[in-house]
């Protein structure tokens, strides 16, 4: 069983083998094998021309990738921590996202920006953020948040195929974890913009992203033994967002809970709530929509506080029980 880091490496290797124009650049992605070991031995397998160690200069790294993409290459950028994309935001939001549109579709920017995100590593506020809504709110960027190795592989292959920029947000705590399902052999793509129904139940629909899919899955399995049956939906791509399975599920369960790691205020998951509230499925709701999200604070350094700042399995379990018990 591959871990997510291995699955991502496998997808990159397949893309390297399929297309000579694919290359990887970033801080320590070469000889060191990546800050989280994702690129691993790729430097040794593909050489310094295709696995580029760069200076610590995020704006320059992304700018170089955008330029390369415009001139026919397919760069994969690794930014060591998603927090550091702040340094590169002009190239991401103002250049990569816009060029295709501002030039009337004449040029494409087939760039993938991979970056680890999230809390739980004791790395404090500047290395622990979940910045999904930053990217999801910029038209022109597609945003992928894989929750398991199999999806990460298929989605990354599709992201590399995509003719325009894709932000690929990998949760640090998932890197070393094998998925529930084995990673398929070969180069099968998972299309962007298709939500996945992870499991089906009749009492509650949970929509969760990234690591929260895994936490919610554990809760769903546990509560199933008590007779609470939960549908779990993983959007996988938060931009574009596929809501159809959510509407269909809520029409059956009548209850919706959404879970994300990032802060509640103006978070991505609010988009799911907004679309539900404005849909014809709204009339199927038999309970107020429950939102579980991070606190509106910088991620604390102290381990207990760091844990308390984002939803944990116990929080999801308690909220799921409560919504099903209180609203019948």
């Amino acid at each position: 069983m591959l871990t997510m880091a291995e699955a991502v490496r496998e997808a990159m290797s397949i893309a390297f083998d399929e297309r000579p124009e694919v290359f990887l650049l970033g801080e320590d992605v070469g000889i060191y094998g990546g800050a989280f070991g994702v690129s691993g031995d790729m430097y040794h397998r593909y050489g310094a021309e295709r696995v580029l160690d760069t200076p610590i200069a995020e704006l320059g790294i992304v700018g170089a990738a955008v330029g390369a993409a415009l001139s026919g290459m397919r760069p994969i950028v690794e930014i060591q921590f998603s927090d550091f994309t702040a340094q590169a935001m002009d190239q991401i939001a103002n250049q990569a996202a816009k060029i295709h549109f501002m030039l009337g579709g004449a040029l494409h920017v087939p760039m993938v920006l991979r970056t680890p995100q999230g809390s739980g590593t004791g790395a404090a506020a500047q290395h622990s953020q979940n910045l999904e809504p930053w990217f999801a709110s910029v038209p022109g960027l597609k945003v992928v948040v894989p929750s398991n190795p199999a999806d990460a592989k298929g989605l990354l292959l599709a992201a590399i195929d995509d003719p325009n920029p894709v932000i690929f947000l990998e949760h640090k705590l998932l890197y070393k974890i094998p998925g529930r399902d084995p990673v398929p052999e070969g180069a099968t793509r998972i299309p962007l913009g298709v939500s996945k129904v992870v499991r089906e139940g009749k009492d509650l629909t949970i929509v969760a992203t990234g690591i929260m899919v895994n936490k919610s899955y554990e809760v769903a399995e546990k509560l199933a033994a008590e007779g609470i049956s939960i549908t779990l939906i993983d959007p996988r791509t938060i931009s574009p967002l596929d809501m159809q399975p959510v509407f269909e599920s809520v029409e059956k369960t009548g209850r919706l809970m959404v879970v994300q790691e990032g802060p509640a205020h103006a978070g991505f998951i609010n988009e799911v709530i907004a679309q539900m509230a404005g849909s014809s499925s709204f009339g199927s709701l038999i309970a107020p929509i429950k939102r579980l999200a991070g606190m509106n604070i910088p991620i604390p350094y102290a381990p207990q506080l760091e844990k308390a700042a984002v939803p944990q399995i116990e929080d999801i379990e308690a909220a799921a029980r409560e919504i099903v018990k209180n609203w019948r």
């Binding site: 009548g254 199927s284 038999i286 107020p288």
Partner: protein
């Protein structure tokens, strides 16, 4: 010449059979004006202040505070010179003097307080699906007991909501009686309500909205369908084409039908199929620049509505109901629901 008028325990809801007298706001010998609060009553649903139906003098207090009084039985007697035109629930055969006083406790003078309006809570909290379900099943959410958090009506509450057997029995009786025909005495048992509304609607959307409201009260029609008669004046006289179940066709189709029927009626022609089956009547007064009228009830109908002119941007809706089949409270709720759906 003055005469005795018993002010009785009013019937304030369909299910009400008795009311508890809380206190008097007047004492014997007091001069009262029409509208002054005479006493307060507590029922299973609401507390209410009962007002003087006319100017007069309090002659005697019959019931005692705390006593449970049957509806229609006197609570106090007043002397008045006005012909009191109110719906009298009292039993004509039973002379007032013969009424036994339930309790002999001394009557305590109560301080007169300012009259408070009756508040009918229209802001019912309910989960979205409960609203859909209630609308589909014709349940008035205001009658459903909320058990959810923050007194919110849950699906369970709506699913468990059942019409009171007394209401069901009355609905059956109503249907039979309306079908049989109603006698002329009904004229004294009607009540009219009116309300200003700032909304834009045409005949089609009004008819559909009214039918939708009536859908929740199947007992107010002799038929299973809802037939809205629209009075259309023409040089040939008034035509009353009936639109059947207008809330169940698309608004566009209904608009086309209303327009073509109106044209035809103005030329003295109404399709035969639209000549019968009315369960309610709508009369648009706006073309006469009238703001309101008390619409008469047609035979075999329990409700009628007029649309009056209020201003460029507002209308005045009047509703007449037959008190043999519904209460003042029902009338208020019906008009409230109609205005809300406009």
């Amino acid at each position: 010449m003055s005469f005795k008028y018993p002010v009785v325990m009013p019937k304030m809801s369909m299910t009400m059979e008795t009311g508890e007298l809380i206190n008097f706001h007047v004492k014997v010998g007091d001069q009262v004006k029409s509208g002054d609060v005479l006493f307060e009553v507590m029922t299973d649903k609401i507390d209410m202040e009962v007002e003087a139906p006319a100017d007069g003098v309090i002659e005697s207090l019959v019931a005692a505070p705390g006593a449970v009084v049957e509806i229609g039985k006197p609570v106090l007697i007043m002397l008045t010179e006005t012909e009191v035109m109110a719906f009298d629930f009292g039993d004509d055969d039973q002379p007032v003097a013969a009424v036994e006083v339930a309790a002999t406790a001394p009557i305590v003078e109560a301080p007169v307080v300012a009259a408070a309006p009756i508040i009918v809570n229209t802001n019912v909290k309910a989960v979205p699906k409960a609203r859909v379900e209630a609308a589909n099943r014709g349940i008035d959410l205001r009658t459903v007991h909320p058990t959810g958090p923050d007194r919110t009506i849950t699906m369970q509450d709506v699913n468990g909501a059942q019409l009171d057997p007394a209401i069901l029995k009355r609905q059956e009786a109503n249907k039979a009686l309306i079908a049989k025909g109603i006698e002329m005495t009904r004229a004294i048992a009607q009540a009219s309500f009116n309300r200003k509304v700032s909304a834009n609607f045409d005949h089609a959307s009004f008819i559909a909205a009214w039918a939708k409201v009536l859908r929740g009260r199947p007992d107010l029609a002799a038929h299973e369908h809802i037939g809205v008669a629209l009075i259309i004046e023409s040089k040939y006289g008034s035509a009353l084409p009936v639109f059947r179940d207008p809330d169940q066709t698309s608004l566009n189709d209904l608009r086309t039908l209303v327009a073509s029927t109106t044209d035809a009626a103005k030329n003295g022609k109404v399709p035969v199929a639209m000549l019968s089956g009315a369960t309610t009547t709508v009369f648009d007064l706006t073309t006469y620049s009238m703001s309101s009228a008390t619409p008469l009830l047609f035979p075999n109908q329990v409700t009628s509505v007029t649309i009056g002119y209020e201003s460029e941007t507002a209308k005045n809706i009047s509703l007449t109901i037959d008190l043999n089949f519904c209460d003042f409270y029902d009338g208020a709720l019906l008009l409230d629901a109609l205005v809300a759906s406009l």
